[in-house]
Symmetry: none
DNA sequence: CATGAATGAGGTTTCATTCAT
DNA sequence: CATGAATGAAACCTCATTCAT
């Protein structure tokens, strides 16, 4: 109880890989992929540095793991929202989720968006494409909601909504101002409400 | 005078600093601050590596120089737009400018925004605050236009407009899709047009 | 008995060690001792990495096992050749064997010779001596044939013949040219034929 | 005089690169390319480890430098021998050179040959081809001598002579026996002498 | 100021070997 | 004996920064 030094193996096998993925997602979100060292992630996951490579052969694989964690979280959120009967409520639920993560956005931006921006600076590795794929998952889901609502140009509306989210996250982070998220989320919610029923 | 090796110091004296700033802004935009080395910037500016330090004492100062280049460009743009008599036309001119930089945004995102996102991952150095300041310059100018247009909540409108720009830049870059910029710029222009005259 | 996981231990028991030795000989010949990892050998032998250490306590023991495999092959070849009644035919049979392994020599050199060269770079471990011992086995056998042929200085002739083999293997490998083996083997055969009967 | 710590820069600029090449050739000959670390070479050249990379971007470039040193030595030797008027004397001079390096061959084998053998184990990098090129330089020169002597099949004779050298070097090294070089060099000299004048 | 060269801290990665089950 | 997982020592390499000329 005093030390966490006790062998983690006894608890559950395979949990380490999960711990590493979560640590990678978290640390990369906070520090950025370039500034994050393997040692940072290893420390956060309470795993010896050398052991990390048993689970992930390169640093890039760890970054990919962070990305897939964000994908997992997105899928969880979407599953949750899909239980709501009304697409309008689903979209407003999504926006509520963004509002709820306000402080995280202020400190570090959108996890997926800021990672995508960083990976987009690379010329090789293909991780940039992977990031685009995760973002497109959200876009497609949002588009589906607008379509179900019977709105014309659901693809454009999805771009506008998700773009607004990425924009507010970046501004809130750059200005260190939580009010940005509050205002924009309120505006977006009102925007959704302004749509007449199908 | 004796050697032809003698450089035209007086002629190029100030030019080197300028070249370094421009190179820093360009290379950092393309590669990101972390992935950019001093040697990269020196090469792009055609300045010997060892010489860089006479103009910029640290790498952070070079990043700050990149930021100030973006600030300079912003000021130039704003000066240009301020010549237009109508604030509505000024805002539409701003949006036209974004549309005109579409391909750059697709490849590397908004220069200031992506740099701000990267610097926001740092805990020290204060460059993140500097980036926020540059972004705020744009926000304030946009806000002034909305105010002059007589719109209520000009600050919120500015956040929405600039946020939309940051969002479209990030999405266009992540998806490698120029259409994102086209669509959103068209929408924003229509949005501005939807405001009645003061 | 309860689980089908139960392996046929008794059946495969000794086979694993044999598989590991063969894999070591093969992989070390192709990649060299230094570039070969325990994992490489384990994979080639289809033995779990952690299990290797029950058969070979160190990597050096595996290299020694590779050497002893080459020794075993040499002994098999010599036994075969010893069935021939004429020492001249035995020597020519040896050369034929070299010619038959031409393509292997072009790709990776003589298994024993290239391993001896690599081990000769070491200052410790004694494996270099072991490699010399295996090579001397061949030398002694060849010497015996020349002696039986009644040639003067059989030791010198053996050095010449085996040296020619090592030289052609190295050159064929370095030049990636199978013709080297063809030419030299033909020459050596003619050389043997040039000796008058005892 | 007591310490060699004094800045080497004062002596001659550019000498460091030369020192590194020589150290690489020497250490790689003694330890083999795989067992040689950058630190080993740096120490032998009295250069800080980090500085090595200013001159050679990768370890492979250092190995290539070692190879080119051997090429340089070969060219020097050949230039020397070319001063002799008689091709027979030139070839015997070459063999005398081998005999003179007897002890080095016993300890570490032929510098070029053992390096070629090691590089031949690689699948990538192209250094193996480079090693073959250097060996071919010697072959071609020897071939030219035999041709000038008016012997038939000069290419085959060159293969035989150079192959004998590589073979004796490998055997002498594997057996740790200088006598191998003595005997074989004597035999080769007699062989050359056995050719009638053109 | 100018410049190629120097330096060392720190990061990524590999791998022989050991250990818990 | 069997096995996946663990460990840490070392190797390669990068780069911001400094220095000698």
């Amino acid at each position: 109880m005093t030390h966490s030094k006790e062998p983690a193996r006894t608890r559950e096998a395979g949990a380490k890989r999960r711990r590493l993925m979560e640590a990678a997602a978290d640390v990369v979100h906070r520090q950025g992929a370039e500034r994050t060292t393997i040692a940072d992630i290893a420390r956060a996951a309470e795993v010896p540095v050398g052991n990390v490579y048993y689970y992930f052969k390169t640093k890039d694989e760890l970054v990919a793991a962070a990305l897939s964690e964000h994908e997992r979280h997105l899928n969880l959120l979407v599953s949750e929202l899909n239980r709501l009967p009304d697409p309008r409520e689903r979209l407003k639920g999504l926006i509520d989720g963004w509002a709820g993560q306000r402080d995280l956005a202020v400190r570090h931006g959108c996890p997926t968006g800021s990672l995508a921006a960083e990976l987009g600076k690379r010329d090789e590795g293909g991780l940039d494409v992977e990031a685009g794929r995760v973002i497109r998952l959200l876009l497609t889901w949002v588009e589906d909601q607008f379509r179900e609502l019977g709105r014309p140009d659901p693809e454009g509306l999805a771009l506008t909504l998700v773009g607004a989210y990425q924009g507010m996250s970046l501004l809130a982070n750059a200005l260190r101002d939580p009010g940005v998220v509050d205002r924009e989320c309120a505006r977006l919610t009102a925007w959704i409400d302004s749509f007449e029923a199908a």
